[in-house]
């Protein structure tokens, strides 16, 4: 049963680095699993942790947030704030007994098309092993 499972991953991609990295993966015709639905944001720091939680409650199997490498943020230091918020969110996940592996923060630059494809491929494999998001069944809104 688990073998047929195709995960759905929401990907919040910062407009300057990671979204451009995803574009480059496409331009280079790199093939990767069609599991991730990209949501373009201006900066990874725009991603309110509530967005991530909402995505889970609405059925995402995992959420990826991707931004510029540390020190390369288009907005100087937005990604450092993202990193901090992510660390807090991970703690919250652990406290609530949720699988913190279902959230991932990655730094992908505009020139890292292959890395983008690799991150999505690896993450998809990992979520496949984890199986569908149990919150889908447990929580009703």
């Amino acid at each position: 049963m688990k073998d047929d499972f195709e995960p759905t991953i929401i990907g919040f991609l910062c407009r300057w680095c990671s979204y451009a990295g995803a574009d480059l993966a496409g331009t280079s015709r790199l093939q990767y699993p069609p599991s991730m639905l990209p949501i373009r944001v201006m900066c990874s720091s725009r991603v309110d942790p509530v967005f991530i939680i909402t995505a889970f409650l609405r059925g995402a199997d995992a959420v990826l947030v991707a931004g510029c490498h540390p020190g390369d943020c288009h907005y100087i230091e937005g990604n450092y704030y993202t990193r901090r918020r992510f660390a807090c969110l991970r703690k919250i996940f652990e406290t609530l007994g949720m699988e913190s592996d279902r959230i991932r923060l990655s730094w992908i630059s505009a020139s890292e098309g292959p890395r983008f494809a690799q991150v999505v491929t690896d993450y998809t494999d990992k979520i496949k092993k984890l199986g569908p998001n149990p919150a889908k069944k447990e929580i009703f809104l």
Partner: protein
Amino acid sequence: MPMEEKIGVYVCECGPNIADKVDIDKVVETISSLPSVNVVERHKLLCSEDGKKFLKESIQKNELTRIVVAACSPKQHEVTFMRVCESAGINPYFFQLTNIREQCAWIIDDKEEATERTIRYIRAAIRRVLYHKALEKKEIEANPDVLVIGGGIAGISASLLLASGDRKVYLIEKTKVVGGKVREFAKLFPRMEPCSDIISQKIKEVENNKNIEVHTDSEVSEVLGFLGNFVAKVNTSENKAIEQPSEQAIKEKGLENKELELKVGAVVVATGFSMLDLQQLPQYGYGKYDNVYTALEFEKMNAEGKILLKNGKPPKQIAIIHCVGREKVGYCSRVCCMYSLKFANYIKSKLPSVKVSHLYTDLTVPGKTYQKFYEQTKEKDVEFIRAQDIEITESNGQLTINHKGTPNLKPLNTDMVILSSAITPSSDAHKLAEMLNISQGDNGFFVEEHPKLAPVSTSMEGIFITGCAQGPKNISDSIVQAQAVAGKILSSIIPGKKLELEVKTSEISEALCIGCQTCLEVCSYGAIYFDEIKRVCIVNEVLCRGCGNCVGSCPSGAASSKHFTTTQLHQEVVEALR
């Protein structure tokens, strides 16, 4: 959900790029069946002239109010289609482009899969566009005048170029004269041409330029405002305005401090550098032994005429030590190797028989002319020793340099030592950083907005950095950077033209804000201020770049990003997951 909108969806085939990978007929059929959609069309190449005409006519004919285009990456044609929307008479922000090429057609081989995904993307875009709000372009008047802080070579160069572009420039210099540290140099590396030729010519040009108002003995005490509209306060004690000061005049205002208020559109920070305080490195014996000099002291001694020991006798041996304090400050100062070579040339031309030894950790002689200068200097019988852990001692007026680094080398005896020490930020950099709200790196130099994409601007729009204030560099590089700053200012503020502001800024709801000021803390651009009377935070839209960090941090939901509102993103996510 707003219901009365008339939505048009346009799927671009992008020639074979999308058409070969996605079953567009099926996409059109599926999207057409959605209740909220009025028009679904496909086109061979929407970004072509023909495609744009088609899009415009279709929008007008069907009286659409919301547009979704499924095509390439927003990086490619978002602006193109926004312009079409505008020309068709609808607000360009009532438009959403969804990327079915780079992030769908080109990454999925399976046509069925790609088709399913295209439909999902378009559904999410339709849902999002329903929540879009009309946004209007905003413009402000901009003052084309410029304040230049620091009258060294960088400040002078920026001022001259700005003035030649017909800008009024206020050049503020802390000391009594413009010209900066370069004034003290006798010659310039690597061509060994007299420095005075270059610097005095520049100073004369500045003094004769009607567009440049020089204030020496003056310091900037406050800068408020933003790009295009700064107000600066300058404390000045200069009295050159009084041509022939009578005793009375001097009594009245001559020696008193005066405060000037200047209105400018941009600020250039060219405050130069200091040298590392050698008291911090006692192993070199500076201040303790008579004949140990700093680089600037030696430069001055040479410029004044003779190279002599403290006892008035000419030296027989001189050692020049490179990399002094490099480890302490944590960076290479870039120019010391070159001016140390220059010193060797000074010495050899005045005292040809003196033995000159260079002690270095690493030699930095980059670029198209420096290597040659090094080789030519070496040919003049100048010794180069790789040395580490240097310690200087003295006995009976004879200096001894103990060192490691090159095995089997004895301590070096010498009469005179020149210390080429690290260049550090100017002593008041910290004060200036605070006043201008710009940041300093770990090493204390001002930080550029982006090392490659925006190397002369800072996080504060309208405030620029150049010369050694930004980092150690030689005269040529300082001038290059100063001219880059001038170019940036000349092209961003054009007299008579208003400044177009970022549309997708943040806004804070006065009703929801609890005044916690978290947003104020996270903003890198100083774009948020706290209103003490209303007890709420307010966004200055002129400074806001729209990153949305404040929105991500706001605990009360008061902050919001235009065009990236919580609702818009939420709807997009929810629909993508359906």
